[in-house]
């Protein structure tokens, strides 16, 4: 067996392990180790790699941004920012048909601006908004689906953990990727609001109404969200203006939200420990996958599979747009089964060289950024596509009274909205790129 054949043979083995419920990081680690063992005819290579690779992966300066963003999201929840956001949005929109659901999406977008993770956004906003939605007579499936979709705004609107990983894998500028994600993220929120207004017209029973809130009260609620604007402006603005590196920005944001939580009196030792445990489990989960992906990708590089594969694809003479479409469809299909981070870590080292080798009539940097945003969106769709959608699971776990099937049904409307957006962004790259100098 040649090295190249070993590289190709590792794909089905990896998938088999993953589908047999191996922890994804472990499956990649095993494929990496096993691959290196067979490729080198001995244990020497992977044993040597493991001596420093784990420490280096866990101590990578650019990756340290991840636990800091996760901690920031936890502190933001404690400081009452999530409820302030929901209250403000709800007081302005709540009296409209479907208005409380729209307000939930708006609050998710606002929370996404200070939280780098979809799961955290979905969980946090559900805690605040789910009881309110049910109280105003919104149907179970519609409520959970709205929040699951809204949760994806946590990643689509910067800051975003997935974009950080993409930037590191493809050596792109994090600040530019964040900037590029901004308009598509806003479009996502608008798309969800439109979806909600269509849904409540199709199923009038799915949503109740309530009396409008007087204007002075609305203004007061709006003023209460200043900490969110402050933190978002400081972190994302500061990173983009170059006041600090992305990691420093995440640290400043975590320190800022922590301080606000402390001042608001919500941060005692017990809740601090809770937010640490939540940060700890997500961080360890993410870094274990990053470690496994590092070993596996090291093996793939050795076998030269990525080069061969991209050479082969380019040699097929398919149009760049066909290749792009095929890749995006691949992500959509696998998104039904796998989580977004694992997919990015697993596939970008293989797909990125393919895309880079094609001519889309744009500068290489523009292609890299545009492709990154498209991938981000399609893998995020995976978070809400049945059967395996992490956001769906999280929210359904918080509302046991709603059968999963109802959530599945309602969420397909939001998935449709996502797909329409992907098509628009593919056809008009300028929507993503107009803020980025060529």
């Amino acid at each position: 067996m040649t090295m190249l054949e070993m590289g190709y043979a590792s794909f089905p083995i990896l998938l088999l392990m993953i589908f047999l419920r191996a922890p994804i990081g472990l499956a990649m680690l095993l494929c990496g180790i096993g691959g290196l063992y067979f490729a080198m005819g001995g244990t020497n290579m992977f044993m040597a790699k493991l001596k420093t690779e784990t420490y280096t992966t866990f101590s990578s300066y650019s990756l340290t941004i991840i636990p800091m963003f996760l901690l920031m999201g936890q502190f933001a929840t404690l400081s009452g920012m999530s409820s302030a956001l929901f209250k403000a949005a709800e007081s302005w929109l709540g009296h409209r048909k479907g208005g409380v659901a729209m307000a939930s999406v708006g609050a998710c977008a606002g929370f996404g601006a200070i939280c780098g993770s979809s799961l955290a956004t979905a969980a946090t906003m559900s805690r605040v908004a789910l009881p309110e939605l049910r109280r105003y007579g919104y149907s179970g499936g519609f409520s959970t689906a709205t929040l699951a979709a809204g949760g994806t705004l946590g990643i689509l609107i910067p800051p975003s953990v997935i974009l950080v990983i993409y930037a590191i894998l493809t050596e792109q500028n994090i600040a530019k990727l964040f900037l590029a994600a901004f308009v598509p993220g806003i479009l996502a929120a608008i798309g969800y609001v439109i979806t909600i207004s269509i849904y409540v017209r199709m199923y009038p029973d799915a949503a109740g109404t309530r009396e409008p809130v007087p204007y002075p009260e609305r203004v007061r609620a709006l003023l209460d969200v200043w900490p969110v604007l402050l933190v978002f402006g400081l972190v994302v603005g500061g990173i983009y203006l170059g006041w600090f590196t992305p990691t420093e920005g995440a640290a400043v944001g975590a320190a800022g939200t922590g301080l606000i939580a402390l001042v608001s009196g919500n941060l005692n030792w017990k809740v601090f420990v809770e937010s640490i445990i939540a940060t700890a489990t997500s961080t360890a989960m993410i870094f274990f996958i990053v470690l496994g992906a590092g070993m596996y990708n090291g093996f793939l590089a050795l076998t030269q599979v990525p080069q061969e594969l991209s050479g082969w694809v380019v040699g097929q003479g398919l149009s760049p747009w066909t290749v792009l479409t095929l890749i995006l469809v691949f992500y959509l299909i696998f998104g039904c089964l796998m989580d977004s981070l694992s997919m990015i870590l697993l596939t970008i080292p293989i797909f990125f060289p393919v895309i880079s080798a094609l001519d889309f009539g744009m500068s290489p940097e523009h292609v890299a950024i545009w492709f990154g945003i498209l991938v981000l969106i399609v893998v995020e769709v995976g978070l809400i596509t049945p059967p395996v959608g992490m956001n769906l699971f999280i929210i359904n776990a918080m509302d046991r009274s709603t059968p999963m099937v109802q959530t599945y049904k309602a969420v397909m409307w939001f998935v449709t909205s996502d797909l329409v957006r992907v098509v628009i962004l593919v056809l008009f790259p300028a929507i993503t790129l107009f803020l980025i100098p060529g």
Binding site: A48, K49, T56, A175, G298
Partner: protein, 319 residues
């Protein structure tokens, strides 16, 4: 091919060093061994890990050949730092020869004993690239800059600048955003980092050179030992002091295009007069003294190394 060797390094394939030095070497080895040796090239850390891990990778056999910066692992190759001391280097070819000779005398059986050294070289004179003109030492006051080595880092902080640590690829963004006001690198790297477009001033030290960086080009020991004698001979014929000198000379030659580009752009290239340089030399003396003392304390005969290095540099600079 009978033998396939994996060559791993941290720069992209089209950068000067891979293109003009490493590929030249690898192509020659492949040709002169009649294709019995194949050198697989993995640029830009494709085999995984980070640049500081390269030296462990070649020791442990993760890669068969690596090119790396000795200062990536501070404390491990401290003898080589003698060539990085301020105002020590003259021209890269001469200093590379001196580096190789001093290594044969003091490092091969000690610092470098865990790998087969293929070549050792340094880059051309390093200089300061800054937003505001820097002529005297006092101009450094409060300037935030990225220093490339442990030694220069110590030197610039003792001279009143604020060193900011970051990896090389982060330099362009940091410069454009004002996270740093200046950076210290040879001309050869400025092209790839777009430094000429980001700053307007370049301070060079005339016939003297502020600093240089020492590189190591090394092969895994077991792979070397396992090679048949005739293939060893092919590699040996293309390595060692002569290839080191070639590599140093080539790196300094690669300074030219970038310097020309800066001149064409109308950048302000400051060449300090010998009197002005004297002020810098006096100010930097403490850095050298500190280094010698540290080495002496570690039992590595700092003063002896320093004296021998200067002697060898003078010998090779003379021809």
């Amino acid at each position: 091919a009978d033998v396939t060797l994996r060559m791993h390094q941290f720069l992209p394939a089209q950068a000067n060093v891979p293109k003009n030095i490493l590929d030249v070497w690898a192509d020659k080895i492949e040709a002169e061994s009649d294709g019995r040796i194949e050198i697989q090239r993995f640029p830009a850390m494709q085999l995984g890990g980070t640049p500081p891990q390269l030296i462990d990778q070649v020791i442990d056999g993760v890669a068969d050949i690596v090119w790396t910066v000795s200062g990536y692992t501070p404390g491990r190759f401290s003898r080589a730092e003698v060539f990085e001391l301020p105002f020590t280097m003259t021209n890269a070819e001469a200093v590379s020869r001196a580096y190789w000779e001093l290594a044969e005398e003091t490092m091969m059986d000690d610092d470098f004993k865990q790998f087969k050294v293929l070549a050792l070289w340094v880059h051309g004179p390093g200089l300061i690239h800054s937003k505001k003109p820097i002529e005297s030492v006092s101009d450094l006051n409060g300037v935030k800059l990225r220093a490339p080595t442990r030694v220069t880092n110590g030197m610039f902080s003792s001279l009143g600048a604020t060193p900011v640590g970051m990896p090389v690829p982060a330099v362009p963004e940091a410069l454009s955003k004002g996270v740093i006001d200046a950076t210290v690198i040879p001309w050869e790297v400025t092209g790839a980092l777009k430094v000429n477009e980001l700053v307007d001033n370049h301070t060079s030290f005339g016939d003297d050179a502020l600093y240089t960086t020492t590189f190591i080009f090394a092969m895994n020991k077991d792979r070397w030992d396992a090679l048949p004698e005739d293939l060893k001979a092919v590699i040996d014929a293309n390595s060692g002091v002569e290839f080191s000198a070639f590599a140093g000379k080539q790196m300094q030659a690669d300074d030219e295009p970038s310097m020309k580009q800066a001149m064409e752009r109308g950048n302000n290239i400051i060449t300090l007069s010998p009197d002005q340089v004297a002020e810098w030399k006096a100010a930097a003396q403490s850095t050298t003294d500190t280094w010698i003392k540290e080495m002496d304390d570690a039992g590595k005969d700092g003063s002896g190394l320093r004296a021998r290095a200067l002697e060898l540099i003078e010998k090779h600079s003379a021809n």
